[in-house]
């Protein structure tokens, strides 16, 4: 048929057309089945708008779960300009409610952005204001929940905790240091919108915010509260330039409490200077430690075996000549003849110069370094100071002599308490720390945990035991008496350091300090208190700092549930020929009764009469056998 050729060509066209259709179908299939994931993801992000939901910042709590920093939920205003229908009306009403000018509000409402916040007037709204806004029922005006940092005990532990800014970002202290853990990740309400920004009637997707990691500190709330209270008392009593206190577990290096004055209120950080906020004095400040440093000299001398505390005597004439310098004892006229234990008890400077000289500069300085001075302790806080030591080649006889009793070296409080912990805990220098662990809030799983770290061994167990004994004796018989706690064996050392200004020691301006621990036979807590220039009081560590340390130690007894130490513990101290005995109560007894009760002690009388009105040391004190007990006599029995 003549049409055959035509029809053949039509068939060819048909085949080409069908082939093209197959190509198109293939391409659609490729887009919809192979490229699906990619395109769907891109399209979804094109279609969806996020209303952010802030994550709650991680909690910071003490070792027993007492929350120190948590969050309160507030409401903030969010505007989605594309959804606002009557921009003038909305601007007007919002401006009225928030107290912003109309023009400024109009700028917010008509801004070319997907989500607009009114900052800061629209943030952290009160319930009433939020309610008023939500009652307007404007489209495109949203109220979103925001969480705001709340410092439960206001100024407590402020330097350690730090503070956060308006956007909940950590700006100092642990808040800054652990920012990445504390923040968590933002959640959102995803809703679908058309290209003009209006909301589509599709299900919104809720993306849960991931709350921040919780931080558990080694701090004990009760001890910390005690420290804060005592520091406040010091400030109101003595108006010092500054004051600080640290409590530490000498066996682990855990910080139980830490604070200083001046401090600040993290919620009102704007009211303070940057120095007040950033200077965490217990780790930042450096100064001459004074007599508390004698513990180091004592430890070195005992470890090196250059002194026998009990049998060796030292005569203090009130000063000692070292090259061209005459080093005076703090006590005018000197302490006269003493055993070296009494040198320690009396904090006798010439006695310690003697110890320093016996050690020699190499040995003494090697111990100072072994105890961690001149180097950061490595505590997990920002802003730690280093302190300053003499360079060994610059140390002459004078420098050696002054260093031995704590002058001419510069140390930080944290170095001081860490070193003393090593001296009394059996000889291990520990790395102090304040963050116990990081805990995931949902599952409770531990993300990071700090464990006690022994930096090095400094003393033998035996020497450490001896140091404890000597320091207990300081409290029982010596300069540390104001720290004495009945029934608990307190050890400690006072310190009164002259301050240096432009290379010259200042007159009548001291840093008074006390470092104390208990129980002396098995220390559970060590407390360091330092007060810079207390006014209106004799500036001695024993009179100002020791009573404060005593109160903190007493609170620590309750907080840590430390048992009263009974007589059995005395046996531990029966080394050499020395025996320790507990002083009985003789108050109210007749003179005769008292004499028989105090058998084994040397009695020193004052006053006259037949009855004992007062005794010293008080009942329960443990002193050397044959030690001195003073009794005040009167004519009537005490009531």
């Amino acid at each position: 048929m003549f049409q055959k050729a035509y029809n053949k060509r039509i068939s060819i066209v048909l085949i080409v057309v069908i082939a093209l259709f197959l190509l198109i179908i293939f391409k659609v299939g490729y887009i919809q089945l192979v490229d699906y994931k990619k395109l769907n993801g891109l399209a979804t992000s094109l279609w969806s708008r996020n209303l952010p939901i802030e994550a709650s910042r991680g909690l910071i709590s003490d070792r027993n779960g007492v929350v120190l920093a948590n969050n309160v939920t507030t409401t903030s205003l969010v505007i989605i300009p594309n959804q606002v229908e009557n921009k003038e009306e909305v601007s007007k009403r919002l401006a009225e409610i928030l107290g912003v000018s109309y023009d400024e509000m109009y700028k917010h409402v008509s801004k070319k952005t997907s989500i607009e916040r009114v900052h800061p007037e629209g943030r952290r709204l009160s319930y009433e204001v939020a309610d008023e806004i939500s009652n307007l029922g404007f489209k495109g005006v949203y109220l979103v929940k925001e969480s705001m940092r709340n410092y439960v005990y206001d100024k407590m532990l402020s330097h350690v905790l730090g503070y956060v800014g308006i956007d909940n970002q950590g700006l100092s202290g642990l808040e800054l240091e652990y920012e990445e853990y504390l923040t968590g990740s933002e959640g959102a309400i995803k809703y679908f919108s058309d290209a003009k920004g209006s909301r589509l009637k599709l299900n919104e997707v809720y993306v849960q915010p991931q709350n921040g990691i919780n931080i558990e500190l080694t701090i004990d709330y009760d001890i910390q509260a005690s420290v804060e209270r005592e520091l406040d008392n010091i400030v109101s009593k003595y108006n010092p330039n500054s004051a600080l206190a640290i409590a530490m577990d000498p066996n682990t290096g855990e910080i139980l409490a830490m604070s200083s004055r001046p401090n600040f209120s993290p919620s009102n950080y704007q009211d303070y200077t940057i120095e007040e906020i950033n200077r965490n004095l217990p780790i930042w400040s450096t100064y001459e430690p004074g007599s508390t440093f004698k513990i180091i000299t004592l430890s070195a001398a005992l470890e090196e075996g250059v002194v026998d505390l009990l049998s060796e005597h030292f005569f203090d004439s009130g000063g000692v000549q070292v090259e061209n310098a005459r080093i005076k004892c703090w006590k005018a006229g000197g302490h006269g003849d003493q055993t070296f234990l009494q040198v320690v008890e009396n904090s006798c400077n010439p006695g310690f110069v003697e110890l320093g000289q016996r050690l020699g500069k190499e040995k003494l300085f090697s111990y100072i370094e072994k105890f961690g001075f001149g180097k950061k302790t490595g505590i997990d806080l920002n802003g730690e100071g280093t302190g300053i030591l003499f360079k060994l080649d610059r140390v002459g006889p004078v420098e050696l002599a002054t260093t031995a009793f704590g002058q001419g070296v510069s140390v930080t409080p944290i170095q001081q308490i860490t070193a003393v912990s090593a001296a009394i805990n059996g000889g291990n220098l520990l790395k102090p720390y304040i963050v116990k662990r990081l805990v995931e809030p949902e599952t409770g799983s531990i993300i990071k945990e700090n464990k006690p770290t022994v930096v090095r061994r400094v003393l033998s167990t035996k020497t450490s035991e001896m140091v404890r004994f000597a320091l207990e004796s300081v409290v029982t018989n010596g300069t540390g008496r104001p720290a004495y706690i009945d029934g608990y064996r307190v050890g400690g050392k006072t310190g009164t350091a002259q301050k240096v200004n432009n290379g010259v020691y200042m007159v009548g301006n001291y840093i008074v300090s006390f470092i104390g621990f208990l129980p002396a036979n098995n220390p559970k807590v060590v407390v360091y208190v330092a007060i810079d220039n207390p006014k209106g009081v004799t500036q001695y560590g024993g009179t100002v700092a020791a009573p404060v340390a005593r109160t903190i130690l007493q609170d620590a007894i309750t907080a840590l549930d430390i048992e009263k130490q009974e007589g059995s513990s005395e046996k531990k101290y029966q080394w050499n020929e020395i025996k320790i005995a507990t002083v009985p109560n003789v108050i109210g007894m007749t003179k005769k009764e008292a004499i028989s009760s105090l058998k084994g002690f040397t009695i020193e009388y004052s006053g006259s009469g037949d009855y004992v009105l007062e005794q010293s040391p008080s009942a329960g004190s443990r002193i050397f056998e044959n030690g001195k007990v003073r009794v005040l006599l009167g004519n009537e029995s005490g009531d």
Binding site: A5, Y6, I10, K27, V28, D35, L39, A43, K196
Partner: protein, 367 residues
């Protein structure tokens, strides 16, 4: 020459009616957002399309009963009047501008595009010419020159609007018709090569043209410019997946895809019905094309064979052009999808064309 007429091609009829009704539904689904926004009447486009569909079906029925021989008689008149309309439409004040082209006669809110009618008139005219000069058609002088001459004249008039898409469809349809008629294709192959070289020359002169042209390959190079429509189309097709988001559930029609009821209606169909819907729509189109070409094959005479082929090929070419744009195989050309895209006069003329096909089918044995 009285002859018992066959029944019209029932498969073609059913396919055309199903796809047109589906088109009306999809025009509603894809346009109600825009329609409500622009005219405060979500049914605006749907109502207009439905009205043209009803008129179109009536016309299709009437035309299917008009013996095609009648067109042989009036071929010149039809083409002449169409070309007159083409001249009128480009005169400002008479023709109205839509989407940058002066292609419309505005009649009471509706638009009539004379280029659509011209396409049909030209097919009829060329069909008549080629069937009359069957023997001379193979020569260059009597075959190619007059047909190509009149075609290029029509093309030039349409390009004055300008309406590149319709112009290309008309030219390609006539060239295909000449191929069926047995015209020596050497000329077109050479012309094609010259065309490609010319295009390459233009690109060398102004390289930005290349960038615009190949933006369909990687539309993300210029996501807010030349790649914009393709990206928005892909964002509709992609998320459709295998089964689609469900009827009415498209998100891209919410102002993301511009004018989704016209050129890019296939994107919305893909989004709402997924690959399955695409396969069904493609199946319907292939059925229509297959039946149309079958009618051409079975035609009793060359005149009706050419007309049937020309009409069917025009539809097929337009559909392929539209679909290839929508899926990103070729650059954006601005061609609508027959039966499915919104456009009253286009649907009307398509249905009238189908009417002619049906009439031809009645004169052929349905075997």
């Amino acid at each position: 020459m009285k002859k018992i007429l066959q029944k019209p091609d029932i498969i073609l009829t059913v396919a055309v009616i199903i796809i047109s009704i589906f088109g009306i539904l999809m025009i509603y689904s894809s346009s109600y957002v825009w329609a409500e926004y622009k005219f405060d009447d979500p049914f605006k486009y749907m109502k207009s399309q439905a009205m043209f569909f009803i008129i179109g079906v009536v016309l299709m029925y009437i035309v299917s009963r008009i013996p095609y021989e009648l067109y042989r008689k009036y071929a010149l008149v039809l083409l002449g009047s169409c070309m007159l309309l083409l001249i009128l439409v480009i005169i400002p004040g008479i023709g109205t501008v839509r989407n940058g082209s002066r292609s419309w006669f505005g009649i009471g809110g509706f638009g009539i595009q004379p280029s659509e009618f011209t396409k049909l008139a030209l097919i009829i005219f060329v069909a008549k010419y080629m069937s009359n000069y069957q023997k001379d058609i193979k020569t260059f002088k009597k075959g190619i020159v007059p047909i190509l001459g009149i075609t290029m004249l029509v093309f030039a008039l349409i390009m004055l609007q300008p309406d590149f898409g319709t112009g290309v469809i008309i030219v390609m349809t006539i060239i295909a018709l000449m191929y069926i008629g047995g015209v020596n294709m050497k000329f077109f192959i050479i012309a094609g090569i010259i065309g490609v070289l010319g295009a390459v020359g233009l690109i060398i002169i102004a390289p930005y043209r290349l960038k615009r042209i190949i933006s369909f390959i990687n539309p993300w190079e210029d996501p807010l410019g030349s790649g914009f429509q393709i990206i928005q189309s892909l964002y509709a097709i992609g998320p459709g997946g295998l089964l689609g988001m469900g009827i009415g559930e498209s998100i891209q029609k919410h102002f993301y895809l511009p004018e989704p009821q016209t050129d890019f209606i296939f994107s919305i169909i893909s989004e709402e019905f997924g690959f399955l819907g695409v396969a069904i729509v493609a199946g319907l189109l292939i059925t229509i094309i297959y039946r149309g070409l079958k009618i051409a094959k079975n035609a009793n005479d060359l005149f009706s064979k050419y007309i049937a082929f020309g009409i069917t090929f025009g539809l097929a070419f337009q559909a392929i052009l539209n679909l290839m744009v929508v899926v990103g195989l070729i650059p954006v050309t601005g061609v609508t999808l027959p039966f499915l895209s919104y456009g009253g006069s286009s649907l009307l003329i398509t249905l009238v064309s189908i009417g002619i096909l049906l009439n031809i089918s009645r004169h052929t044995p349905n075997t």
